[in-house]
Every structure is written in C-alpha cells, then in structure tokens.
C-alpha cells in the first residue's frame, strides 16, 4: 500500500476575530507520489490552504498530517523546520532572490535545511553539482546563465530555476501555486512535463494549484477546491 502524504481531517480555519470559517475541509487525502490538480478561483481559500500546509497559519481546529506528522501540534519553529525539510514551493512569479546567482538560488533550501543538504551530500554530489544537474534536467543552459543576474532570465527560465530550487534535496511534497500563469501555452505544457518527470524521479507528491482547469487533464487527480471547502458554500449562501 502506498504511503499517505497529506491527510486532512475536519480542518477549520477562521481569523481570530470572526466566527466565519474561511476554510472547512472535513476530509482530504493525498497519496505519496500523487499529482493533484487543485482548481480554485481566487477567494476559494486557496492561499489559506497553502499557508496551512506550509505551517505559517494555524488552523482553528482539526488535523493536518503531513507524512504522518500532525503539524498542527508542532511549535512555530518546528513547523518552519518541517517546511524547510519536507516541502518545496514554486510560486506564481518573481520566484527568485534577485541578488543571488542562479546556482545560489537553487541551493538556497540547503542553507535552511540540513535534511535536504545531507540527502544531496550523501548521494555523492556537491550542492552545486546537484543544482547544475537539476537545472540541466530542466533544460537550462547552466554555463550560459550561471553568472548572469537572475533578473535577466526570461519568465519561463525563472520558473524552471524555481522548480529546480523546489526539487533540491528531493522533498516529499512539492507545492506549486499557479506556476504557469505567467507562461504562454506552449511553454506551459513543456513546463508541466518537465516538472512531472523530475517529480517522478524523486517520487515527490505534487500539489498543483491553478484556476486554469484546462491544465488539469495531465494530473492523477482533479480536485475542485470549491467542492472540498465547505466553508466556500456557506460563504456563498451568505452572500446570496
């Protein structure tokens, strides 16, 4: 039987002052290595869910297990450490630290996580070698861009560098928040294919968030956040 990457049970979130739940998920499970497409327009609680999984928000109640660990129980710095060790993030755009080089951007997670660092070093390659390998896999001409400021890269290149950073140290879960929204149709598909092939190599779970339902076909599972999040319906009812 496959291991479970994410288990959500009765997860509720509201800001302290209000009784109104922004998020209310009774049950949701993601298996290890699964590629989930999470479709949700803005306001559907997408950011909240990602911040909860990332451990930068605390749920009002319920359980949120990542790789068997209920992160709700962890203290804040343990959450930060857990995020650094087991997760990889790709954001919509401006994914890179402008004053670091391409390779420095890719190796950044290893500065905060010894787990990721040791995984790479134990496999027998240096951090830079691993970064260059990943970049090459993602079709970045490393020698060409190595010493150029990251701000000079094209958006597509920037997103691939960010992907390489997310994949560094083979984290169990990759969270991609609309990584393709700034790309055109052809680079979008190529990007997703590259992301998939790399995640398969490291057996990473992918949570891919987008409002563009069109992309969902390629994924193992297509989830509408609207259906998952009961709070959304409640809120909708109130609005009506």
């Amino acid at each position: 039987m496959k291991k479970i990457a994410i288990t959500i049970t009765d997860l509720k979130f509201s800001w302290q002052q209000s009784d109104l739940n922004l998020l209310n998920i009774s049950s949701f499970e993601v298996l290890c290595g699964e590629k989930i497409f999470l479709c949700g327009p803005s306001g559907s609680g997408k950011s909240t869910l990602l911040n909860l999984i990332g451990g930068v928000l605390n749920p009002s109640s319920g359980q949120l297990k990542l790789l068997g660990q209920n992160i709700v129980e962890l203290d804040t710095s343990a959450k930060d450490q857990f995020r650094g060790d087991c997760l990889g993030f790709i954001f919509q755009m401006f994914n890179l630290i402008p004053y670091l080089s391409v390779v420095e951007n890719v190796t950044l997670p290893c500065q905060f996580s010894d787990v990721k660092k040791n995984k790479i070093l134990n496999s027998g390659s240096s951090l830079e070698e691993e970064a260059e390998r990943l970049l090459m896999q993602l079709k970045i001409d490393v020698q060409k861009v190595k010493n150029r400021p990251v701000t000079e890269l094209s958006v597509g290149q920037q997103q691939r560098v960010a992907t390489a950073r997310a994949l560094m140290g083979k984290p169990e879960i990759i969270i991609a928040d609309e990584p393709t929204s700034a790309l055109d149709a052809s680079t979008r598909n190529a990007f997703i294919d590259l992301l998939f092939s790399e995640c398969e190599k490291s057996n990473s779970t992918v949570i891919f968030v987008s409002h563009d339902a069109e992309l969902g076909k390629k994924f193992d599972r297509f989830v509408q956040l609207k259906e998952l999040n009961q709070a959304f319906f409640n809120k909708g009812n109130i609005n009506v």
Binding site: G84, L87, Y99
Partner: protein, 421 residues
C-alpha cells in the same frame, strides 16, 4: 549566522546606489562628529597653550579677561599703565625668578607692536616648553631694531634688513605714523601658532623713543622733533609699561604673590593666573563648539533617518523575497535579523569609511592647519569620545534597523507564503 552575513552583504550590494548613499551619509556624520571633536580639542589645546610657564600676569587694575586679552592675545587696549618703577620693584622681588615686561599701544599695518626686553626671547614659552626661535636674523639690540613674528613677515612679505614705520595707536588705518623714526627688521621669528606670530617686537626703550618728543599727546611739529641720531645719544629710561609676566621661584607663593600685587598700595594693579583665566575665556568661547557639536548630531540624526528611509522603501518590493525565504524554511526571526544586520553593516561601513576619510582629510590638511592656524590636530590616537561616538552611531543605526526589521517581520507573518502584491 554566516548565511545572514553573506545574504545581507549580497542584498546590500544588489542595491548599490542607495547603499552607497546611506554609507556616505553615515560616513559624513562620522567625519563631522569626529572632525569637530578633533578641531575642538586642537583649538583648545593651542588656545590654552598660548602662553605657558608664566605664573602671574600683572597689569593695571581691570577685569582678568580684559588683562588676559590685551596682554596675551593683543586684543583690545589696556585701561591704564603700570609704572616702570613698580615693575622694577617686582622684578627684583626675592620670590621672582624672571619677568617679561610688555608695552603695547603702537601698531604697524594692523599688527601690534610690543615693547619688551630680551627676557622675552629668553623666557617666553608656549605649548608647554616651546621657546621662541628666530627663523632669520637676530634679536634686537639697538633702539630702532625690530623682530617680527612669522605672520607679519609672510603677510607683508618682509625680510631682514627692510625698513618700516610704526604707527601710533592700534587701529588698522593709522592716522599718526612715527615717520620720523624708521625701524629696521633684524630678525624674524619662527611660526608659533600664538599671537606672537602677529606681533612686532621692539625694545622698551624704542617705545619710549617713539614718544619722547611728543607733547601733550601730540607728535612734535616739523623741525622740533629729536632725530634718531640724537636719540641714540640720549639715555632712554622707560616710564611705564602695559603689563608684565611673572615667573616665581616656587609655585607655592603664587597666591600670596597675587594678593601682594592686588593689595599693592602705590598703584592699583591686578594679577591673574593665566591658566585659570584662559580656561574661563575658553568657556565663554565654548558656545561655538557646542553649536558645531549640535549641528553634527543633527547630521547624524539625518543620516540615520536616511538609512531608515532607504531600508523602508525597499521593504515592499522585498516582501516576496521574504516569503521565498520563509518557504524554504526560514523562521520569522531570520527575516528580522537579516534587516537588523543590514543596518548594522551599513553603520559599520559608514563608520569605517568616515574614519578613513577623516584621517585622509586630516593627513592632507594637517600641515596647512598647523602652518596657517598653528593648530595641532591629533592624527592617530582615538580618544574615548571617538569610541563613544562610534558606539553611539552603531547602536543608533542598529536600533533604527529595528523599525524596518519589525515591519518586515510583521509583514512576513501576515503575508505567509503567498504574497499578493
């Protein structure tokens, strides 16, 4: 810790322009704060060492500052004279080691003429134990010989052997010249950085000779005056002097001697302790230095505010950067530290460059300051005040850094991982 250093270094370098401006403004305030401190100390030192080794200054009864001003700084005029006999009496006093008489009242093109005797060259000291030295020529021996200070020589381009005319009175535009009695320059003194540089020194007899044929305060009518040649034949005895400096054999007797002068029955006189009076005078002049200090503190405050602005304006565009750090596992504390560290680094670089600039500036200007103003500015030693300023600037900058750091900390908490700009 290492990653904070290397990241903030790179982050600052990425914003070269604002970083340089901020460093420049901090460096500027360092230069001002330390420079003013240096100049203040230098001026006070050279001020307080205008005259040394003198135990008492004696003149006709007046306020101590007035006496100090005209006798030492040659500013203003004496209210009255001291008779030569009285001076002689104190000169031969058993407790007195030496005296220097001074007689003021004449001038040459705005420079003061000072009548004295050879003790002046022998005993006059400044800056501790520096004595007067001749750059050229010799001391005066005959009546119509004059030894000029370094500034007089430089500004009027005089050299040994030149013939000059002294004027009656002390205003720059003299209306009564002693044209009938020309003087010859026989010596030029080395630069001292004291009022000696701006003085012309003649013998007491010469002062007497200048006015010997004057009647009721008016110069002799043409034909009635005594010619210089006749003068040499006359045995001249000075009648009065303006003031005299006294050195006692033992310091113990200073206050008794001062009282003796003040209570002298035949003549109303005042004796002052030069060191004490110099300090009193400096205190009244000290307002200027306080103002300078306040101004440089304002520059310091402005430089801190400009640093604050430089850091705060970039914060919004750095929100995404912070969320990237958070996403790879950085704690909020890290976000806070990186910004505090940046301001600390700015302050350190500012202090470093400011100090370098100051020393470079002093190194270049020191010979000029010393030559033109007689100002010795300490070059290599850090004083406690300097270190106090360094610490103040550093702590000030760090605490200013807490504002953007705290703001970034709050923002990164509320933004979480997903920043919507």
């Amino acid at each position: 810790m290492f990653k904070i250093i290397s990241l903030s270094k790179k982050s600052l370098f990425n914003r070269k322009f604002t970083t340089c401006l901020t460093i420049f403004s901090i460096a500027l305030s360092v230069v001002l704060l330390l420079g003013i401190e240096r100049i203040k100390n230098g001026t006070r030192k050279s001020f307080e060492s205008t005259i040394s080794q003198v135990d008492l200054i004696v003149g006709a009864r007046s306020g101590p500052v007035n006496l100090l001003l005209y006798s030492v700084f040659r500013i203003g005029d004496a209210t009255n004279n001291v008779s030569y006999d009285t001076f002689k009496e104190f000169d031969s006093h058993e407790e007195v080691e030496w005296t220097i008489p001074i007689s003021l009242g004449d001038s040459h093109k705005g420079f003061r003429v000072l009548g004295t005797n050879l003790n002046y060259f022998k005993y006059y000291q400044f800056s501790g134990d520096q004595r007067l030295n001749l750059r050229e020529g010799r001391e005066f021996q005959k009546i119509f010989e004059v030894v000029i200070g370094a500034d007089v020589a430089r500004q009027l381009s005089y050299k040994v052997g030149d013939q000059i005319t002294l004027s009656h009175g002390t205003s720059r535009v003299a209306f009564q010249d002693h044209k009938d009695k020309p003087f010859y320059i026989v010596g030029i003194l080395k630069k001292t950085g004291t009022p000696v540089d701006g003085s012309l020194h003649v013998s007491l007899e010469a002062i007497e000779a200048l006015h010997i044929d004057w009647k009721e305060g008016a110069p002799p009518r043409p034909g009635e005056g005594i010619t210089p040649n006749q003068m040499l034949a006359v045995k001249l005895k000075p009648k009065a002097i303006t003031a005299f400096f006294v050195r006692l054999k033992s310091k113990v007797g200073i206050f008794r001697m001062q009282r003796e002068v003040n209570e002298y029955e035949k003549e109303a006189m005042t004796a002052i302790l030069p060191g004490v009076s110099l300090q009193q005078l400096w205190k009244t002049l000290g307002l200027v230095e306080k103002v300078l200090q306040v101004v440089s503190f304002f520059v310091f405050a402005v430089s801190l505010v400009s640093m604050l602005i430089a850091l705060l304006t970039t914060l919004n565009e750095r929100r995404r950067e912070m969320s990237i750090f958070r996403s790879v596992g950085a704690r909020p504390r890290f976000i806070f530290s990186i910004l505090v560290f940046e301001s600390g680094l700015l302050a350190l670089l500012g202090i470093l460059f400011g100090t370098l600039a100051l020393y470079l500036g002093l190194y270049i200007t020191q010979p000029i300051l010393e030559d033109q103003l007689g100002l010795t500015v300490g070059l290599f030693a850090f004083t406690m005040t300097d270190i106090f300023y360094f610490i103040t600037i550093f702590i000030g900058a760090i605490s200013m850094g807490f504002i953007p750091a705290w703001s970034a900390y709050r923002k990164s908490l509320s933004d979480g991982l997903i920043v919507r700009l």
